[in-house]
Symmetry: D2
Subunit: 291 residues, 4 copies
């Protein structure tokens, strides 16, 4: 999954299109004609009769860097066009560039930095943006620039503009809110024009909004969870990428739920980021296909 010896000759193709006969045949033939070998392939149809078709193929093509432009053009013309596909093609050697936004909690943040350092996540982190100074030392230990942009009611629009300027300047492909404690405006999302992944500390749709551990405690649930999803304008309502839960008992307090939940949050966020970085997540309306 991470950079293999053959990485320069490996790429990932994702496809979303109206379902009809012949998609797999046309795609696999095009790859075959260019000498590619399919390593992994996953597909999904919402409904074989008139639904939407999704596919992700990882393939190996000897001499890919030189053949890239040619293959891309041929695929666009002979396959993607006729089948009306929305598609992406990503080189295995080109890690996605990920901005991380944080506030004061360090657990999701440190977990991401450490996984990137180990090579578990095929991403680069060109910058960290925070509304607080707290985690500067941690970011810098990992050699990552740390930008503090305080956010208040009064300066929210300017602060968001500055965040977007920094992220565009750093050519990020997507952003992750690693327990960033500010709600992003719809304007921000439109201007950023890149996917934003959030981690919410409950099993959505239960306990939307602030203080989910307190709400979980008050309701007396026997499981607590975490949900990673793409951010949309509606709070905590975007397409879900990953979720998990752990069992809890009457012995927990809101504080101990928060402590236990940290382990779930960081695992779920890491799983979502990994899936996104490997082009495994295709969005369909308010839902995801995760290959």
């Amino acid at each position: 999954m991470t950079a293999a010896p053959d990485a320069p000759n490996t790429a990932t193709l994702t496809i979303t299109c109206p379902d009809r006969q012949g998609i797999v045949a046309a795609t696999s033939q095009c790859l075959h004609r260019h000498g590619a070998n399919i390593i992994h392939s996953d597909q999904h149809s919402t409904d074989p009769e008139g639904g939407t078709f999704f596919m992700r193929m990882e393939f190996h093509l000897e001499g890919l860097p030189g053949a890239w432009a040619d293959f891309e053009r041929a695929f666009a013309e002979t396959v993607a066009g006729p089948f009306d596909m929305h598609w992406t093609l990503s080189a295995a050697t080109r890690p996605k560039r990920m901005a991380v936004l944080v506030s004061r909690y360090d657990h999701c943040f440190l977990d991401l930095l450490w996984r990137v350092r180990r090579g578990d996540l095929n991403v680069e982190i060109p910058l960290v943006i925070s509304n607080h100074e707290d985690l500067r030392r941690d970011a810098e230990m990992f050699g990552i620039p740390y930008h503090v942009i305080p956010v208040t009611k009064a300066n929210k629009a300017e602060a968001e503009a500055e965040q977007i300027r920094l992220m565009h300047e750093a050519s990020v492909d997507f952003a992750v809110l690693a327990r960033y404690m500010q709600i992003l405006s719809g304007d921000f999302l439109h201007a950023l024009a890149r996917p934003v992944i959030n981690i919410h500390h409950s099993f959505l749709p239960a306990f939307v909004g602030a203080n989910p551990y307190r709400a979980a405690f008050d309701r007396g649930v026997k499981l607590i969870g975490a949900t990673s999803h793409y951010v949309t304008e509606e709070l905590d309502a975007g397409p879900i990428i990953a979720q998990d839960v752990i069992p809890v008992t009457h012995r927990e307090t809101p504080e101990s739920l928060m402590r236990l939940g940290r382990d779930v949050e960081r695992q779920v966020l890491a799983r979502a980021v990994k899936a996104h970085a490997e082009d495994r997540v295709l969005v369909h309306g308010n839902k995801t296909v995760v290959f």
Copy 2:
């Protein structure tokens, strides 16, 4: 947990009272004075300063049947009274009597019948009540009387009255709704005056009400679950006893979620019934302590 060789000399004591010093000392001394040996003991305080104290003790007392009345009186006078306790004392040889209410789904129902037959649940089922004929043969295979009481908008009050009459006549200790597809009225709950356990096919508080699998499908969650709780007047809002979930993917349909969910539903309901039957569940406001 089920009837051991020593069952005639074994009992379970549960206690709920305002927290203060000396409760454990007084209780364990009273047991010790009567020659009892504590086999299991669990306790919980919501807050050692002025909160509520909960305890469950399983003990062994040689010659318990003869000593029962004496111990009961002594405990009431010297311990329960002074500490203002709400308490119960249950003999291990006296299984609780459980009414089962069903409609058409057989999975939770059959699972309970099998577990009772195997001796996994320390309960007796004197009767099954349904609003449909469908499961009569299954009930009768296990030798359990099956009463059909159709429920319509028009006859709801009478139907509930008849249900209560049957359950009181059968001296049931509690009732279980094993996917019984009717909402019980507040009047019913008051008149029955015994705990009622329900299984809801979602991880509450997400997806309250009808069609939770459809709602889960529409939201695109990556986990589906089940919740067993005591029934209160507010729909799906009573104290939760047990919950569990299983992972699902984009490949599922509302129908396949329903099929997968059946396994979780029956496990969660069985766990809740077992805990209740063994006096492990103490209710506190809208929450439970499950020892």
Copy 3:
């Protein structure tokens, strides 16, 4: 997964062959030429360079019953032959025929019968074979013939011959040992010449052989599990299809582990049988690919 309205026009193709370029292209083209639409597709390579390639495709082909022989021949000649494939083609409307062998434990057995009755498992059970009378009534309640063949050291060879005769006569496709407490001989497996699925009550390879719950208790493990695998001549060493575990504590006894384990055993066996019945399990040496 179970018989859909389109079942008559639906089939599943599985492939195992040496990996090389063009397999997916050739297969999907052949399907496309016959007017088939691929509904699900999964593939796996042990190693894209010179390894083994596995694929499972579920497809829909209007008028499949009439086109079957033609498609089968074309696929054999133009695809399977050239690529040196081991392959199977199964009609969705032809449930596999499953023999069930049992001894005295009822939990796995009843769970399978119930799932078949509900339509969750796409199998038929033409017969049950046991070395004890105990479960006759349960089998007969579900309308399934129950054959008792006592097995002793002295008559083992004859008993096995009789079991095989019954299973061949009933045209079974595979057999399931639902806690059948006899070890099958290598001769039996060769003579039966059909897959046999077993459920072992531990997470193999831990606790091979008899009394795994006792061994788990003695070792003080904090998880107990179950493993479903294909039976081979070496005891508990065949290819694993499914495994699961549940957490346990110091409070359990060998008896309570056995009780808790029953729930895992029946879930794991059901999962393995379902995967086998849907042609999702491809065996490779002593391991499985489970799509």
Copy 4:
């Protein structure tokens, strides 16, 4: 669980003794006479008839620091002596001192350092010992002294002697092997005379010894796990404190199993260390009671 406002007046008592009537009564009375309020209490009997009794009580006693010596003496004389108890008494304000031994893998190590920094584990780390330089920078970032003691066949005895000298000098209460890749000798364990906790990267007793992920891959298991246990002279055979597993499929390689396993290893080790640090683990022969 971690230092609460009342920590100075809070302590934990653990008891192991032959089971007989009156233990709870005597203990709780002694606490009550000294004005203590029991906050948490757990107990376990291996067998109420002639087995071993285990108890852990957390209590609050106003003015505990001044009353400590008096209570300790009274308990020893009037309770522990007569009941032949092995017992411990720990102040909540006195975190245990933990040595960490590492080699080159950073995941378990960093996870422990982060959890200690966050206050999740009630321990202090006075030193880290390694046979390699690799993790020096990580240790020093957290301000913890890092000692490198290379170990070879030739110098093993001296190296162990130096390790023990450092740990005794630092007054450690226990040691943790956070993927320390050397086997400790029986002499080492005797000379250290303190508990040593290890993390093994399999669900013991499966895959004892080296390369468990490779062995898991070769066996084709569908779950991989980790086990934390006390170290004894027999390799990977000591009393198990915590275990967990995660599901895996045929798609994994030995390398990806190793990557996936890291998350389980660090969670399981953290759980074991937390339980040990809070006096929740009582050893009994080759097994543990974990309250």
